[in-house]
């Protein structure tokens, strides 16, 4: 099956209201960027590497020392579908990654290797694609899995946190009693764009005294500045799609 790696330089993510950092004509002249493959060593390293990439957009995509060899295959297994759910959005479809048994296993392994043995007792996953990645990680590192859901899906008593959408607001909910104060958690989703959903998940867990060790996603859309929205909370990603 053909998979397309993301990249139209003109992508204007409708989700992201900020204008692109360069004048449009430069974007038109710029060749299609490759997927940025950051080092997986630490989230701060990833952030510095991404910053240096943003500063020199016309450079070749470098393969840094320490680049995990599993990441290119994972990146190439993700399909990009234009104009979904609406015109202008380049949708990153991880269902094709799930069809590639090796790439899916590698994806989970990369997260498990990072979080095993770090005293993490909670893996929280954001509905619905976070439910696909979170439980295998939780099982492998000996943590509980906590689903964070859209309103009215969870049957028991819940606490909820509101967050902004491009137009309007939405809510994310968690069962009361799912986590305890002092627990160490990671939050998983397939992709971070503006960071609205993830930052709401962070706030929700922090309200009940949980320490967020890191947010972890397969894909980041750096132009949407989700990392900034997360503020002090570290973010770890496998693939950056600019």
């Amino acid at each position: 099956m053909q998979t397309i790696i993301a990249l139209a330089p003109l992508v204007s993510h409708r989700l992201c209201l900020a204008p692109p950092p360069f004048p449009r004509h430069r974007l038109l002249c710029r060749r299609a960027p490759s997927i940025r493959l950051p080092s997986h060593r630490s989230s701060t390293t990833s952030f510095r590497l991404l910053s240096s990439f943003a500063a020199s957009r016309d450079s070749e995509m470098a393969t840094e020392d320490g680049q995990d060899p599993r990441i290119p295959k994972i990146a190439s297994s993700i399909r990009v579908i234009p104009d979904f759910p609406k015109p202008g959005i380049m949708f990153h479809d991880i269902t094709t990654l799930l069809l590639d048994t090796e790439a899916f296993k590698d994806t989970i392994d990369l997260f498990v290797e990072r979080y095993k043995g770090k005293g993490i007792s909670v893996v929280a996953g954001v509905e619905a694609r976070g439910f696909i990645f979170g439980p295998p990680i939780a099982l492998a590192i000996g943590a509980k899995f906590v689903p964070m859901r859209k309103p009215k899906k969870l049957p028991g008593k819940v606490i909820s946190e509101e967050y902004s959408l491009e137009y309007g607001t939405d809510k994310i909910e968690m069962h009361v009693g799912a986590v305890e104060p002092g627990e160490r958690a990671i939050i998983i989703d397939d992709l971070i764009a503006t960071g609205g959903t993830l930052s709401a998940a962070v706030r929700l867990l922090e309200r009940v005294g949980v320490k967020i060790v890191e947010c972890a996603c397969v894909i980041e859309l750096p132009e949407c500045k989700g990392r900034e929205k997360l503020g002090e909370t570290p973010l770890f990603i496998l693939i950056s799609s600019a």
Binding site: M1, R79, I81, F84, P85, F91, D93, T95, L98, L99, D100, T101, F104, K105, I108, E127, A128, F131, I132, F133, P135, P136, A138, L139, G142, A143, K144, F145, V146, P147, R149, K152, K153, L154, P155, G156, H175, A178
Partner: protein, 191 residues
């Protein structure tokens, strides 16, 4: 069929799994005793037992596809798929999948809905298991079976953690075998 009748009679793991499931009365509406698997997911040992039992059953059956029904099927399916070396295929509510889809309508225990799958997710003659947290009337699973068969794939079995009384004694769903780990808890006085 229930796991206890199929080689796992007296297996202490089944009791641990059953005990970890919480019953929430009157959700989503009066009279329904909702079987809440989120508490199972909080119990790492019981959750692991759940996955292990399914993996042990399917690992030598040449299954190349594990399909999971949105959203609670997503919590169980991928771990099974990873362990047995199969693809994971999400079966989703309408409008969620970005690519070209096929869809099938079905009746729920309470309401009705449609289930969708990407057209290129499964190939003819692939051997498939379909996972969900719970089977009640079997409507959702029947729709999932239809989706698979429309692509020429073979559904080997449907597998659920919990099976409601309607399915007890009913080993087959639309002609396909059904494998269930536990009965629901707390159903005394259930209509």
């Amino acid at each position: 069929m229930f796991a206890a009748e199929n080689g796992l009679k007296g297996d202490p793991r089944l009791e641990a799994i059953s005990a970890a499931i919480r019953v929430v009365p009157n959700f989503p509406k009066k009279g329904i005793m909702f079987q809440d698997i989120t508490t199972l997911l909080l119990d790492h040992k019981a959750f692991k037992h759940t996955i292990d039992i399914f993996v042990d059953r399917y690992k030598d059956m040449q299954i190349s596809v594990v399909a999971g029904v949105e959203a609670r099927g997503f919590m169980f399916g991928p771990s099974i798929a990873l362990a047995i070396g199969a693809k994971f295929v999400p079966l989703r509510k309408p409008g969620k999948l970005p690519g070209k889809v096929i869809s099938e309508s079905y009746e729920l225990e309470y309401g009705h809905d449609r289930l969708e799958m990407h057209v290129d997710a499964v190939e003819p003659r692939e051997r498939v298991i379909i996972i969900d947290d719970l089977v009640a009337t079997g409507g959702t699973l029947s729709a999932a079976i239809s989706l698979m068969e429309s692509q020429g794939a073979e559904v080997v079995e449907c597998a659920c953690v919990i099976g409601l009384p309607e399915v007890k004694g009913q080993h087959k769903l639309k002609g396909k075998p059904l494998y269930v780990l536990v009965e629901p808890s707390g159903l005394d006085g259930f209509c």
